[in-house]
């Protein structure tokens, strides 16, 4: 047994640019995926909250399909399956689409539970002041719902950024891909894994810390009670 935690710093310095490039790709696709997920989630949550007929059923089916299947399978279907019926998209688009498809349902649930946490009588109270539906939503429901949604929203962002780690399966040269390459081709396992962990920490820690700061601030402002 050779306990070899010794890192070769020269090798690490040499690999940093590779990881940087990969990290930028991961972040870029991750951020885009999250943005689209937020959009999809908002639309679905509103459809569910206002119980819009037909659309409500469609979004419900989408949410169930998306939440009960793994991202990797979704990506395989999009990347390898869809071209067979003529829908060919690039690996990066596939990554974003897959992440948005997965994340949309998670965001929808986060927003919906926020909306539902606002008591219906708050709406009535706004109506009794003469506000219309749009004003009530904008000034009364939305601000309250958002603060309730924040913890779930932050958790979803972190979850989705973590999920980007499967992108290498559709041959995107992300952090996992880079690490696997260095391990497989050059046997620089220790350095490759070390950098992998460091780079994911660089991406995820700030989000996680920022999230808990925002959460704490909301809890302290805690206007809910």
């Amino acid at each position: 047994m050779s306990l070899d935690f010794g890192l070769n710093w020269d090798v690490i310095a040499q690999y940093i640019p590779l990881y940087q490039k990969a990290a930028i790709l991961t972040v870029k696709l991750g951020v885009l995926g999250v943005l689209f997920a937020v959009l999809i989630g908002l639309v679905c949550a509103l459809v569910q909250y206002y119980k819009i007929p037909v659309l409500k059923q469609i979004t419900a089916v989408y949410i169930e399909l998306s939440r009960n299947t793994p991202l990797l399978v979704q990506l395989f279907f999009i990347y390898y399956g869809l071209p067979k019926i003529g829908l060919k998209i690039s690996a990066s688009v596939c990554g974003v689409v897959g992440l948005a498809f997965l994340g949309g349902s998670y965001m929808a649930e986060a927003f919906r539970s926020g909306l539902e946490a606002v008591e219906p009588i708050q709406t009535e109270s706004a109506y009794s002041l003469g506000m219309n539906r749009a004003q009530t939503f904008r000034y009364v429901i939305l601000p309250q719902a958002m603060s309730v949604s924040v913890p779930a929203f932050v958790a979803n962002v972190i979850f989705l950024l973590k999920e980007t780690s499967v992108f290498s399966a559709v041959s995107l040269m992300d952090l996992m891909f880079t690490a696997k390459d260095l391990i497989g081709l050059y046997y620089k396992t220790t350095e490759a894994l070390f950098l992998l962990v460091v780079f994911y920490l660089i991406i995820l820690l700030p989000v996680s810390i920022l999230g808990s700061i925002v959460e704490r601030r909301i809890r302290r402002a805690g206007f809910g009670d």
Binding site: M1, S2, L3, D4, F5, E64, L65, R67, N68, T69, P70, L71, L72, V73, Q74, F76, F77, Y80, G81, L82, P83, K84, I85, I158, K162, E163, T164, S165, V166, S168, A169, M176, A179, K180, I183, T189, T190, A192, L193, L196, V197, Y200, L201, L204, L205, S208
Partner: protein, 224 residues
């Protein structure tokens, strides 16, 4: 009509092989869940104790496991242990280790959350009724905690099932790998098989996870 992989599925033992692959992934999840739940309960209870040292250690473990993508954890265990300890773990064993580590972390967080969500009044009213500490836990606290925990733990199972697809990336022959093999073998006679086969896998996963999700939701509503 172009063959979209449906025929391939019914050729020979292809469907059985696919299901076999799915079972490999499910087996890893189930083993991991069965080990994680008791370990997670133990850690969760320890987290509510006020031992500073213990707290710090558990916290670092939990935070690290929860912030790292499971893919990274798989790489660390699969490639890292070979390099550092000279262990030659099979993909499957490495996966089980990772998912136990991860599942335990998630479960302990659920347990801790459930325990601290029991209002102080519950303990106080037990005391006022003259119940002993053991009785308090046995008749009041644990039953309430379990009710909160069961739906969440069931959800953890679906998350586990979904996450075990990752084992493909460290060479475990699971359903996606089998699919690749089938598609490759039929490349000539059925070039479009990827569509039908990946769609089938998508639906298989859905069929595996959806009922579990429904059950969790049902219990959550019932016990709220």
């Amino acid at each position: 009509m172009p063959d979209l992989g449906i025929e391939v599925l019914f050729k020979g033992k292809n469907m059985l092989r696919l299901l076999g692959g799915l079972w490999t992934a499910l087996r890893i999840s189930l083993i991991a869940v069965v080990i994680s739940i008791p370990l997670g309960i133990l850690l969760g209870v320890l987290m509510t104790k006020k031992n500073r040292m213990l707290h710090a250690i558990l916290r670092v473990y939990l935070e690290f496991i929860r912030i790292m993508p499971q893919m990274v954890l798989l790489f660390l265990v699969y490639f890292g242990t070979t390099r550092s300890f000279g262990w030659d773990l099979s993909g499957e064993v490495a996966s089980i280790i990772v998912f136990v580590l991860w599942g335990t972390a998630e479960m302990s967080d659920l347990v801790r959350g459930a325990l601290i969500s029991i209002p102080k009044h519950q303990y106080e009213s037990c005391e006022a009724l003259g119940l002993s500490r053991t009785q308090t836990y046995l008749y009041v606290i644990i039953p309430q905690t379990i009710r909160r925990l069961i739906p969440l733990s069931i959800n953890l199972i679906t998350r586990m099932i979904k996450t075990t697809t990752l084992v493909l990336m460290i060479g475990v022959v699971e359903v996606l790998k089998v699919a690749q093999q089938i598609i490759e073998a039929n490349r000539m006679n059925s070039p479009n098989a990827a569509f039908g086969i990946y769609l089938t896998i998508f639906l298989l996963y859905f069929l595996a996870c959806w009922p579990i999700s429904l059950l969790a939701r049902h219990l959550e509503k019932k016990w709220r």
